[in-house]
Amino acid sequence: MSQKSLSNWLKGMICGVGICGLLICVLVLPMFGGKLGVLAGNPSLYWTWLILLWLTSIPCFIALVFSWRIVSNIGNDCSFTQENAILLKQISILAGGDALFLFVWNIVLFFCNMNHPSTLLACMFVDFLGVVIAVIFASLSHLVGKAAELQDECDLTI
């Protein structure tokens, strides 16, 4: 697979993830959120949780934009650059920050009796995933940065 076709496939994947994310935020969450609120016996929780979930999805879309830039660089044969290393680090920070935000608000809502233990547990799992993604992207950022230095030295070796 050539670099250009790899880049195109990755761009397609990013578009797919973005569209799915948008559909979930705009359609699925509002549609099912109300029903879950009624089942939980407290319909007023609907807007609180909907806004919280919308807020936690914003860093995900920003990360998709950064991913698009990384993939465009890969398509232009600029895979190992400091720019890509910085973008990967920013995605890592977004993932970690998002996980922290969700964790804090989960605890706050739990103590305000606006949360359920099962929801708390499920969100802890999502938090753990967020931390895992943050660590993976931080590692990738470090490796790409080192590779960029090697590439630089190689390019400037006559």
Binding site: D152, E153, L156, T157, I158
Partner: protein, 70 residues
Amino acid sequence: MEYEIIFNIDVMLAKRKMSVTELAERVGITISNISILKNGKAKAIKVSTLAKLCEALDCQPGDILECRKK
């Protein structure tokens, strides 16, 4: 105090009445690489490339290399 290595290729090119294009062809590297050497942006040079430079310019490495303070 930090030092840097300078490639004084222009002096030898003038002495041998050779153009940058001809030198690049003889050494087997691109003109842009010659510019990188002249501008001091090169991070490393292969020993084989240095040998080819000296062969093309009919000189010693000391004739084209200079060490000076930054």
